[in-house]
């Protein structure tokens, strides 16, 4: 099917009308597939394989057969939609919008733009240099650099699929808050001298490419990123859901309330520490924490863990070391870690 869509998208550049038909039909097919997963999974586990309802294996398998197609469908559909939105944004445009913005307003705008601007942490260095040299304040640049990887589409879609819109919304809101506050703190600390000197000595380069995209171009780009992202995470999703399914079927209810529940005060900082070295497996981590929560782990602890996994990543820190002196890296990690721990406690208290 993927090949067929690619072919039609290509021919659509000659006959634009047909592209809208294909996208429309794919959307209808998506809705039909999405709404029939539950009955199909139940039928497979309980009728076709003849497992008893309520048995450990039956529960675990039904959970797996339901969640894997559901998450993969959700990811494909949502990434397509998000990628279309992203074709209207670019790092260049974001930089132009942030230039000369004051603290506060600038931090909030940077965090919001961090969600919709296409960004990969491997581009953190050119982006950092480009922002700072063109006059975007350091704290505002950091708000962007924190929000962009933390509120990423895979994490948000998986939270929505496994926890519902309320948790996904809380995650986005707390990610934004952390990015804004951490950026303001770093700006106030006047950390400019801890940026490597060569960054300030560079000649400012003129802005880059301005592209004019048609709708078929946008669909093509969005489809390309669906293939790329889903191709990269599907295995982690399956492994994560597999482990989650085993926990769902075999671990007794509230077994984890003692170590990951609200009563254990140390569980939030422990979750943040544990999350720092885990990075590329965000897609695999979410199904596991979802199953843990069902067994008594609290929401604040789970969200803190999630944010630490995606927001504080060792690879990104190593990349950023090229432009930041160690003191600033330490402040960067420290400020975000503290902000995440506070968020975790707040959720454990409130929810």
């Amino acid at each position: 099917m993927g090949q067929a869509i690619s072919t039609v998208l290509k021919s659509g550049q000659r006959r634009p009308g047909s592209v809208y038909w294909v996208v429309g039909l794919a959307a209808v097919g998506w809705v039909i597939a999405y709404s029939s997963i539950q009955s199909l999974a139940d039928w497979l586990a309980y009728s076709a394989l003849g497992l008893a309802r309520g048995s450990h294996l039956g529960e675990a398998l039904a959970f797996f057969l339901y969640d894997v197609p559901k998450i993969l469908l959700l990811l494909s559909g949502m990434i397509f939609a998000i990628s279309i939105v992203r074709t209207f944004f670019s790092p260049e445009r974001t930089r132009a919008m942030l230039g000369g913005k004051r603290q506060g307003v600038g931090n909030a705008l940077a965090a919001l733009l961090g969600i919709v601007t296409p960004f990969c942490s491997c581009s953190a260095v050119p982006l950092f240099i480009g922002f700072v040299e063109s006059g975007v304040p350091l704290g505002v640049t950091f708000s962007f650099l924190i929000a962009a990887p933390t509120i990423n589409e895979v994490a948000v879609v998986m939270l929505y699929g496994l926890f519902g819109w309320r948790v996904a919304g809380l995650y986005i809101a707390s990610g934004l808050t952390i990015a804004i506050i951490a950026g303001i703190v770093i700006g106030r600390l006047r950390m400019e001298r801890y940026v490597e000197d060569f960054v300030w000595q560079r000649q400012v380069t003129a802005s880059g490419l301005e592209e004019h995209l048609t709708w078929p171009d946008r669909f093509q780009r969005a489809w390309d990123s669906v293939k790329e992202i889903v191709g990269k995470v599907w295995l982690y999703v399956m492994i994560g859901i597999g482990v989650g399914a085993a926990i769902h079927g075999y671990v007794p209810e509230s077994a984890l309330a003692g170590i990951m529940g609200k009563q254990a005060w140390w569980s939030v900082p422990a979750a943040v520490l544990l999350g720092i070295p885990l990075y590329s497996n965000a897609a695999g981590v979410i199904p596991v924490v979802s199953a843990l929560m069902e067994k008594g782990a609290s929401l604040g602890t789970v969200l803190a863990f999630m944010m630490s996994v995606v927001g504080l990543s060792l690879p990104e820190m190593i990349i950023l070391r090229r432009v930041l002196k160690p003191q600033l890296i330490a402040v960067f990690i420290g400020v975000i870690a503290v902000a995440i721990v506070i968020t975790g406690y707040v959720f454990n208290l409130v929810v």
Partner: protein, 83 residues
């Protein structure tokens, strides 16, 4: 001779772009010289904010994404026929 530069510090997307460029160059028998630019100071001489970047005959044609094969073919065969 088409001069191609792939700008990127060695991330996965930069490697994929380089492989795709080589593939298109080979498929269309284009006389080309492909250079990988991995040093940030060199990369940042071009006006890009995100990698990978692609430069054909000293002109920046894309940044922050992997162009698809059709786009690459158009650019590279176009550049080859100009010489």
């Amino acid at each position: 001779m088409v001069k191609i530069k792939v700008l990127g510090s060695g991330c996965a997307n930069c490697k994929r772009l380089e492989a795709l460029v080589s593939k298109v160059v080979a498929a269309h028998n284009i006389q080309a010289e492909i250079e990988k630019v991995t040093d940030y100071n060199e990369i940042m001489k071009w006006p890009i904010l995100s990698t990978p970047g692609l430069v054909i005959n000293d002109k920046l044609v894309s940044s922050g994404r992997i162009p698809n094969e059709a786009e690459l073919t158009t650019w590279l065969t176009g550049a080859a026929s100009q010489r």
